[in-house]
């Protein structure tokens, strides 16, 4: 006896795999901060995920936006999203 996705005249079992209904409605978290500012280094086309180890990728440590990112990470947040904007 065959197990097949579409049963015909032959003896067999029609089976099309499992349908997953176990996923429950999950509320999205609110833990993604995006800091937008003027940095001396970094990409401008997309946000960057910055951690304490990769802070150096933002360049000049005296810029206000850099200090904001550093302060945010100092509170214990593991990583924060950063968007660099060019000077307008």
């Amino acid at each position: 006896m065959e197990t097949t996705p579409i049963i015909g005249s032959a003896v067999g079992i029609q089976y099309q795999g499992i349908t997953d209904r176990s996923g429950s409605a999950s509320a999205a978290g609110l833990t993604n901060g995006l800091i937008v500012g003027d940095f001396s280094r970094g990409r401008v086309d997309q946000p960057m995920l910055i951690t304490k180890d990769t802070l150096v990728q933002l360049g000049d440590t005296t810029k206000p936006a850099y200090q904001t990112v550093a302060d945010c990470l100092d509170t214990g947040v593991p990583a924060v999203l950063v968007m660099r904007v060019s000077q307008s």
């Binding site: 409605a25 999205a28 901060g33 997309q46 150096v56 936006a65 302060d71 509170t75 947040v77 904007v85």
Partner: protein, 431 residues
């Protein structure tokens, strides 16, 4: 940018005919100035004579001011990208390069590599490297539409937009457009060196008038994060980084149903700011008239307050930029609850879209009901007389004008508030 090894063994940024190794790369990042790239060449384990198939190049981009490593990649120069040991494969995996190509020439390769200052022979200490200072690398001019697209299309969607510098009006306006699209709070910080009048007039001039815009101002002095001496001058600094950090940490403390405690505003006694050696700016006197002026401009000021438990520097208000005297939307926590519940309900609707109508009505109704009940149980929504004593009401029905393809959701809820004022009447009686 091209890094080359010439036939004479010289590593440089200047390509010429006859180069034996040419690494032509472009980073996503614009590195600015003060960056050098270090090149070190060595051989794979067991190799004795350099060939393109066994020579490892290690490239290190280093900040020349702090000496910290920005990026580092290391791999065999002559192998194709399919080989995981190749420089191409290692560089590609970092996601930092928009393009990288390596070209090698076999003729005279061994002599050029072994004659180079960057070459580290097998069993040597491995400290030889050549450092090349990169030219200044600046990004293209600001493009508001590109910024809008980059943020609105990013994943994951941001929960907060933070603008540490509200001075740049073009960026500010773009961020307001982004905020409208994403329906998330926008935290902006005013220049900490402004006077009270300047701060009030600046935010009044921006005139955001939106409940999702929150303005803060930090007229305090503290020791800078980069200070190396206890005697150095104290400086002004931005506080919005620490504020958003506290908000994200608060939001991570979800209850068992996944609801974040956003009914608790991050302000006042329980959320002190902790910059080193804080004090108020001596030229900023926050007397009654100054505080009234700042509250009228709806600026949340970080200031020193004396509590019965001691002195703390706290955010001393919870106002949004909403133009109203008594709406719930003028309070930060109420605004956060409104944004959060709206966004989650939108997500629920999206998830069930394109199902058959009766299935949609049953499934979306159930999920919205469960979600709002969970919010009410967590304290985000409070009972309201207008809603018959319920914290929320909603109705999801098929639209009579287009019953086959359109449904209608009507939702009302009453968010939690925050106490900004107390009226205290007291009497003394004889008996």
């Amino acid at each position: 940018m091209q890094i080359v090894l010439s036939s004479a063994g010289v590593v440089s940024l200047t390509p010429a005919a006859g180069d034996l190794i040419t690494i032509d790369y472009e980073l996503h990042s614009y590195l600015g100035d003060g960056v050098a790239v270090e090149v070190a060449l060595s051989l794979a384990t067991g190799a004795t004579a350099p060939t393109p198939a066994n020579t490892i190049a290690q490239l290190t981009w280093r900040d020349t001011v702090t000496d910290k490593i920005i990026y580092r990649v290391s791999g065999i120069v002559g192998l194709p990208i399919d080989n995981p040991k190749s420089l191409l494969s290692v560089a590609d995996a970092t996601d930092q390069f928009s393009s990288i190509e390596v070209t090698t020439v076999s003729t005279g390769f061994a002599a050029a590599v072994t004659g180079s200052n960057a070459y580290n022979a097998p069993n040597s200490l491995g400290r030889n490297k050549v450092s090349l200072t990169l030219p200044d690398d600046q990004p293209p001019a600001f493009n508001a539409d590109a910024l809008y697209d980059a943020i609105t299309l990013m994943e994951p969607k941001p929960s907060y937009l933070v603008l540490p510098d509200a001075d740049d009006l073009v960026v500010m306006e773009t961020m307001q457009r982004v905020m409208q699209t994403l329906n998330v709070p926008l935290l902006v910080e005013l220049d900490p060196t402004l006077t009270i009048d300047q701060a009030a007039s600046q935010i009044t001039a921006i005139d955001a008038q939106d409940h999702r815009v929150v303005a803060i101002w930090n007229p305090t002095l503290s020791r800078p994060a980069t200070a190396t001496s206890l005697r150095g001058a104290k400086k002004t600094r931005r506080a919005v980084g620490q504020l958003v950090g506290k908000m994200l940490l608060r939001n991570a403390r979800v209850n068992s149903q996944g609801i974040p405690p956003i009914d608790t505003p991050v302000a006042g006694h329980d959320f002190p700011f902790t910059f080193n050696s804080m004090e108020m700016r001596p030229d900023v006197v926050l007397n009654n008239s100054a505080l009234e002026k700042l509250a009228t401009a709806k600026i949340n000021v970080l200031r020193r307050l004396k509590f019965d438990t001691g002195v703390r520097f706290v955010l001393s208000d919870v106002l949004t930029q909403y133009q109203s005297e008594n709406s719930a939307l003028r309070l930060i926590n109420s605004m956060e609850i409104i944004c959060y519940t709206t966004n989650i309900v939108l997500e629920i609707l999206k998830r069930h879209m394109l199902k058959k109508t009766t299935g949609f009505l049953v499934d979306a109704d159930r999920d919205i009901g469960n979600f709002l009940s969970a919010c009410a149980a967590a304290g985000l929504l409070q009972p309201a007389d207008d809603l018959g004593g319920q914290p929320f009401t909603y109705a999801l029905t098929a639209d009579p004008t287009a019953p086959f393809e359109r449904v209608r959701l009507v939702m009302q809820r009453r968010p939690e508030g925050a106490v900004r004022s107390v009226i205290f009447d007291e009497d003394v009686v004889v008996k």
